[in-house]
Symmetry: C2
Subunit: 317 residues, 2 copies
C-alpha cells in the first residue's frame, strides 16, 4: 500500500468503515508502543526524537496521535504535533492525528482499527500518543504492547495525584525535561539475564536529545521480554477482547439512539422529565423494547423460514 492508499484507508476507518478481513489477517507483526502522560510534559517532542532514533536503525514508524477534542466543538487540534510533520517527506514515517469527538473516554472506536491497518501495511513500530487523563490511560494500556509513561520534574498537585493511575500501566517510565534538574539521576539499567520485567526509569531531554537512544533500546528490550515470557499473547488476547467490547458497546449505543427517536420513547422521556415516571422504570421499559425490536430484526430471516415451513406443513407438502 502506498502512502496515498494508506491515507485513504485510515480516513475511511475514521469515518466508520470496518477493516477488511484480509487486512486484519495480516496484523500482529508491528510493535505497538503507547506513549501517554499529563499535558505539557513533552510527549510529542519525545516521539519526534524517537522517530529520529528508529529511522537511524532503518525501522519504519507510524504515529497515531489521539487528540482530546471537545465533543461539542468537534474540531481537530494539531498544536505542537505539527513539529513531527518535518518527517512527512520520509516514506518510512506516517503520522496521523485523530480527533476523539463523539466518543466517551479517550480513544476513538476507530483507533484499534487504524493501528491494525498500519500494522498490516508493514510498519515496524506503531506509536499511539494519548494524553494521560482519566480514561485514556486505561485504554492505551489495552491497545499497546509496551506502555511508556512520560512525566516531568515538578508536576502540580492534582497531576501528582493522577500519577498513581499512570504508574500502574507503565512498562517504562520517562522523566522528560530532565535538563531542568540541577543533577540528572542516571537512568535505571535493565538486567539482561532476568526474565521478569522491572519497570525502568529513563531521564530524557527531548530538547538536548539526552537518553532518547536509551529509551529506544528499552522499548525494544521490553518487546523481547514480552515474547520470551509469553506475556505478548496474553496482552494481545486482552486487546482483542477490549476491542470487541468497545465495538459491541457502540453498536448497542446506536440501537439505543435509534429507539429513543421513536414517539413511544419520546413519551417515556417526557414523563421522566415531568417527574411522572422515575428513570429506573423508564430504563426497564426501554431495555425490553430494544431487545425485542432488535431481536426481531436480526432474527428476520429465521422467522420467515419458520413461517414458510409451517405453511408447508399445513398444506400437507
Amino acid at each position: 500500500m502506498n502512502r496515498r492508499e494508506l491515507t485513504k484507508v485510515v480516513t475511511s476507518l475514521e469515518n466508520g468503515a470496518s477493516l477488511s478481513k484480509a487486512l486484519y489477517a495480516r496484523t500482529g507483526r508491528a510493535h505497538v508502543v503507547g506513549i501517554t502522560g499529563p499535558p505539557g510534559v513533552g510527549k510529542s517532542s519525545v516521539i519526534d526524537r524517537l522517530i529520529d532514533e528508529l529511522r537511524r536503525q532503518k525501522k519504519t514508524v507510524a504515529v497515531v496521535a489521539v487528540d482530546p477534542t471537545s465533543p461539542i466543538s468537534g474540531g481537530a487540534l494539531l498544536g505542537d504535533r505539527l513539529r513531527m510533520q518535518r518527517h512527512s517527506d520520509d516514506k518510512g514515517v506516517f503520522i496521523r492525528s485523530l480527533a476523539t469527538r463523539h466518543h466517551q473516554g479517550g480513544l476513538t472506536d476507530a483507533t484499534p482499527q487504524i493501528i491494525h491497518a498500519l500494522d498490516a501495511t508493514g510498519f515496524d513500530v506503531v506509536i499511539v500518543e494519548t494524553v494521560g487523563t482519566g480514561q485514556d490511560e486505561v485504554e492505551v494500556a489495552e491497545v499497546a504492547d509496551t506502555v511508556v509513561v512520560v512525566l516531568m520534574p515538578e508536576l502540580g498537585d492534582e497531576i501528582q495525584r493522577a500519577k498513581s493511575g499512570l504508574m500502574e500501566i507503565a512498562d517504562i517510565l520517562v522523566i522528560n525535561k530532565s535538563d531542568l534538574l540541577r543533577e540528572t539521576p542516571s537512568s535505571h539499567a535493565i538486567h539482561p539475564g532476568e526474565r521478569k520485567w522491572h519497570r525502568p526509569t529513563v531521564y530524557t531531554s527531548a530538547k538536548t536529545g539526552a537518553d532518547i537512544s536509551t529509551l529506544c533500546g528499552l522499548t525494544e528490550a521490553h518487546q523481547l521480554s514480552l515474547v520470551s515470557t509469553g506475556e505478548l499473547a496474553r496482552r494481545r488476547a486482552r486487546a482483542a477482547r477490549s476491542e470487541v467490547i468497545r465495538l459491541l458497546q457502540s453498536t448497542l449505543a446506536a440501537s439505543i439512539l435509534r429507539e429513543l427517536e421513536g414517539s413511544w420513547a419520546q413519551t417515556v422521556l417526557t414523563d421522566v422529565a415531568g417527574r411522572k415516571l422515575d428513570p429506573g422504570v423508564a430504563v426497564k421499559m426501554l431495555t425490553e423494547r430494544i431487545f425485542k425490536n432488535n431481536h426481531r430484526s436480526t432474527n428476520h430471516g429465521t422467522e420467515r423460514r419458520r413461517r414458510k415451513t409451517r405453511r408447508r406443513i399445513k398444506a400437507g407438502r
Copy 2:
C-alpha cells in the same frame, strides 16, 4: 430526612441502588450548579467560599465532588476537598466525594441519582464539582441548571486548548486567583432588563474572598433567567434524556459482560485474538446473540402466558 439517613441513602445509591419513586417525585426544586475547570484553578476553594455566602443568605447547600480516580487503583482521593469539611458541623451543609471508578468518562452512573436525593431532601442549592477534562465537562452540562467554569490567569498550553470546550458550556465564567494579576479587571455586570443571558466573567479570589458574593448573585440571576425564558424546562428535559441514556448504556453493558463470560463468546474472542475472525464479524455474532438471549429472558412471562393460552385452547377450555 436527617443527616444519617441521607448519608445512608447516598451510599446505597453509590453502590448501585435505585432512587425510590417517592423521592424522585419530590425532585426538581433545588438549583443544581455545576462547577468545573482544569486541575489546580481552585474550584474547591471557590466552592468553600460560596458555601459561606449561601449560608449567610440562610440557604442550605449540598456539594457532590466527583473525583477522577484511577479506574485501576479504585481508591477515593479527597485531597484539598478536606478544607470544605470545616462546614461539617453545619446542619445546612452536606458534602460528599464520589469516586468515578468503573465508569467510562466523568460522572458516575450514581451522580444524577444522588443529585435527585439531595434535591428531594430539600437542599436549596446542589453544587456538583468536576474536573474539566474531556468528557466531564459535557456531563456536568447535562446534569446542571447553571454551569460555572473556573479558570485562572496564565494557564499552560494544553489547558488553554481544552478551554474552548469549557467555554461552550459556561453560563458564568470565573477567573479565580485574580489576586495574581497586577491589575484585576472589573467583573462584567449583568444587564437586568434583558431577557437573553450574556455570559458574565467574574474575577474572584478564593484566597481574599474577592467577588465571591458577585458570583453568588450571578448564579441566582442565571436561575431566574432560566425560569423566565423557559430554558429551565428545556435543560431539565435534556437532563432526563441523558440520565436515561446513561442508565440504558450501563444496563446493556452489563448484558455484554454477562454474555462474554460464556464459553461460546470465549471461543469467538480467542478466534479474534488469533486473527482467524475479524472484530467486525465477531461483534455481529455477539450482538445477535445478546438480543436473542435477553429478549427471551425479558419476554419470559409473556411467552409462558401465551403457551398456557394455547394449551387451554387445545383443551377446548
